[in-house]
Symmetry: C2
Subunit: 336 residues, 2 copies
Amino acid sequence: MGFSKDNLKGIVLALISCGFIGASFIIKKKGLKKAAAASGVKAGVGGYSYFVEPLWWFGMITMILGEVANFVAYAFAPAVLVTPLGALSIIISVVLPHFILKEKLHQLGILGCVMCIVGSIIIVIHAPHEQPISSVQEIWTMATQHAFLLYMGSVIILVIILVFYFAPQCGHTNVLVFTGICSLMGSLSVMSVKALGTSLKLTFEGNNQLIYPKTWFFVFVVAICVITQMNYLNKALDTFNTAIVSPIYYVMFTTLTIVASIIMFKDWDGQSAGNIVSEICGFVVVLSGTILLHVTKDFKRSSSFREKSQFVGGSYTPLSPSLSAGLCSGNGVLEA
Amino acid sequence: MGFSKDNLKGIVLALISCGFIGASFIIKKKGLKKAAAASGVKAGVGGYSYFVEPLWWFGMITMILGEVANFVAYAFAPAVLVTPLGALSIIISVVLPHFILKEKLHQLGILGCVMCIVGSIIIVIHAPHEQPISSVQEIWTMATQHAFLLYMGSVIILVIILVFYFAPQCGHTNVLVFTGICSLMGSLSVMSVKALGTSLKLTFEGNNQLIYPKTWFFVFVVAICVITQMNYLNKALDTFNTAIVSPIYYVMFTTLTIVASIIMFKDWDGQSAGNIVSEICGFVVVLSGTILLHVTKDFKRSSSFREKSQFVGGSYTPLSPSLSAGLCSGNGVLEA
């Protein structure tokens, strides 16, 4: 279970990605602090001095490297494995400040970290193996099977209803509207990223897939999905408290991605019931850890919470749900 | 994995046991309240009016039934499975008051319950099967193998050192002394209870084991171990805050019991690495849930904490560590 060569590569890449993304927020925060100290104007109140701060750019580069590693991880291992591991970046982003920024970690936060790690181990042990893919045509066949077309159709209809009916009506009062749009689009993002990643992997292995229009179609789908997801994630983060958005987004995004991956890549076919239940349990444990980390973050740091919201100007990572929602932005209507 | 017929019987019995034990505390508390209201003197300040209160006796009977179910569970399923499930009785004892006694459950307490349940599912799925035992002689052979004699010898030496050297010196300042004695003796209690339970099970199946002196020897060992364990658990609970004693006792008791069971019954022989790691993860999850429940219990109820310590007059359950430590007693030096 879990430890095929490709799965192992995927796990290592996902862990590296979490490390880079988690660290990038700390580096950027250090950069923002330095820039604020030099210019006297904080980013949260309109300062842009961080653009000339090398530390901030170093943080940006770290984050891009992390995103690339995440992207490549999807090419090797099932989404059922890579997506839930995204929660581990929270640990980095919570544990590093404890040492570097001297932001003290609440004791229950440590418990949250332990749970994220233990849950991830359970997920990794019970992760399914993926069938090797030899061409973009194969992915295309998977993406156009009836079950997945039905899923895709339902997602698009739901997103349209949410965007045009619910968003104007209750988008700013109900947290589920914007996060729902992000999560639905996110599941399609991951599937298309995985398709594209696999095509590129095959191309690098000498089996050129760039000659097929289908590869370029996937590039187009990735762009559309990621932009929509980014747009509504920013709206969600600007409107609601991160401590509310983050766990909801994590659970919806991860659940929908797992569902999409099970339908498209048939991840759970041939898996024993025990394996599947264990994996779901692992996911629930990681989710509980995430909630605990976010809730306890507010326990002791509520006084310095304003300062953290200066991250609103930064970018976020559409494929690492929990972290992006957890640390990028935070000033909003409900938080005030 | 996990679902042999005997394991299933063991799981059901363990769950029934948790239900009875968990409920018994609530019933007894109701009884204590009624008795206090009738006589005007609380148990915590020396009242004994609860002895004439039928509800309190009903609670006692419920608890004894729970202990019997727990005892029988050990005869069917491995200790590696039954012992960690003991944590589930905490859930009953935390969730029932929420509805019956209107003691509001903290939101993080709900998360703790979810974790205890999920961790238990993981443990159940990955529990090993036990070899069927056909006579008390077989258990005797297991108990007298070199490895287990070594374990038993080390435990007895450690207990003697703790009782005669450390207990007088720092028993009232270091929480590990009394809980250590309880946990070390507890692991021997469970092993001897399991031996006795299996003998009785065989006897009821028509294969009379009561004619062998070895069976009566196990009765003697059970008595010695349980009395020692009871004595030092009461000392620990009288000296330290239950919120500190309970998780420490749970982790030490469960760990030592699992170690003893692995050595004596070779529970993990022939288990895959994935299975063993998953089971350890499940155990860590249950432990985290336990800690969370105990920590958050103090968050909102600290004002009514004194009232809860009237349980000090009740008995406790030596084989269900977390609950006994969590609810039986509570007024002590450190808590004041």
